[in-house]
Symmetry: C2
Subunit: 313 residues, 2 copies
Amino acid sequence: MTFFKDNPVCNLFKIDFPVISGGMVWASGARLAAAVSNAGGLGLIGAGSMKPELLEEHIDKAFKATKHPFGVNIPLMIGHSKDHIDICIEKKVQVVFTAAGNPALYTQKLKDAGITVAHVVPNAKLALKAQNSGCDAVVAEGTEAGGHNGKDGLTSLVLWPSVADKVKIPLIAAGGIGTGRAMAAAFALGASGVQIGTRFAVSTESTAHQNYKDACVKADGGSVRIFNTAHMPIRALLNPYVNEYIKKECAGESIESLLSFRGKGRTKTGIFEGDIEDGEMDAGQVCELINEVLPVKEIMNRLIEQFFVAKNL
Amino acid sequence: MTFFKDNPVCNLFKIDFPVISGGMVWASGARLAAAVSNAGGLGLIGAGSMKPELLEEHIDKAFKATKHPFGVNIPLMIGHSKDHIDICIEKKVQVVFTAAGNPALYTQKLKDAGITVAHVVPNAKLALKAQNSGCDAVVAEGTEAGGHNGKDGLTSLVLWPSVADKVKIPLIAAGGIGTGRAMAAAFALGASGVQIGTRFAVSTESTAHQNYKDACVKADGGSVRIFNTAHMPIRALLNPYVNEYIKKECAGESIESLLSFRGKGRTKTGIFEGDIEDGEMDAGQVCELINEVLPVKEIMNRLIEQFFVAKNL
């Protein structure tokens, strides 16, 4: 694969393909991360749904399951983020992706420990902030993405080139990518790597429940919607729970009342336990293009093959 | 430009570049359409804001202003659409793009008159319907686009490949395209042509008011939002009018009350008369990437040049 020989994302993370798996609650544990790294990409353990001791366990497992670099994705706005950062340093994880918070908070600390750092952003202004905070790369994630979303609602098609024009560090494109065609589109728009969430959540190695995977396969893009718009937008599969949430939103209910209705553990109920009625099944719009559960290796092979076909069109 | 020699969109419309200007209310009259056709693309007169006699006038003007093919865009859900169709047949317009309605309604009639027909759709199901109705091409328009939007909220990145996989007629990509990079992305995702709205609305030859053009140049993508979500989604620049509308929506006001608040002539007030406070300024998310008003010829030159650069990346 001489094409990626000079690719800045491959060189930064010491990987064969500039393909990173997203940090997804209840789906991206050590098994998925190691599979992605073993397939030539960069696998991330999603710390978002993990208590510190569970993250330690997954990091240990990943070190055993792959000799290739892997990373940890840490959402900064949740309670355990400081502990997560310390664990990554202690365990000598090679790469950390931070998200949903201030990139100035831990980037220097991580870099001082020799860790390569990327930060996830929803707009160009925050991309510049990530660059100025010393991040090695920036992930620009469009509104197509599953789970928590930026309030701007910027789509990948518009966000990626806007960020590419403004930053000098490598741009990793995220949001709506599940095929090599979309990867080629991302490169045309100025990215030099991609981060893929939902497509890997719907893989054999993902810890998401089979019901969740089946629901993603069945869904079209129109049934993966943004809700909780006013507080912090979330993209998930439409189901009785999300429909009820949206109904309450439209009726003008207060944020407090909405959050109390959401309660705790909704994503666990949906993604991990497979309750497709009452759980929250965070997923991206790319469900439109996902037609089967596949092993990670097969996803990666198709992705790279389609990428080259699309590039030669 | 041998690259486009075998391009199906160029061959279908007998044009040099597979670039079509969108039919935009109050912006795309004969002057803009002729300029786009003279620059090697296919210019469309937007009939949406025109009474039948005004459309006749614009068609006559366009025939005088260009020797190249041009077309008319006709939204089918508005009152004058039947008259608009008859005028296009009578005046021997070469191309008609229909939108916002049933493609089975007039396609055969237009084709019997020797007119090439394309239909604009927001999802793959309607793309198949357009193909089955005998359309020569389909325009798949993502939620990035300005003005009326589909209810699915499908973004271009996900919509285009989904349609490309399902139809055999040429796919024209629309929604979020203002640069050659995005055009290259569209091609990677399976399109063989592009339709561009807002970028051409912010051209010298557009009949939109200077205040509207300036507002688009000033706006970032996060300030071009969808409203009227429950009835028929519209994407427009945030201003006091749209903010008030969204506030009423969030408070759960009825559709009747909302439409009465919108009243008649809001797009004329905003786009044509330049009232940036009280008017409705329909525009696409691509405002994020539009930094100046340019002549059509210059927009086309940059587009094609960037397209080839992005393809060779």
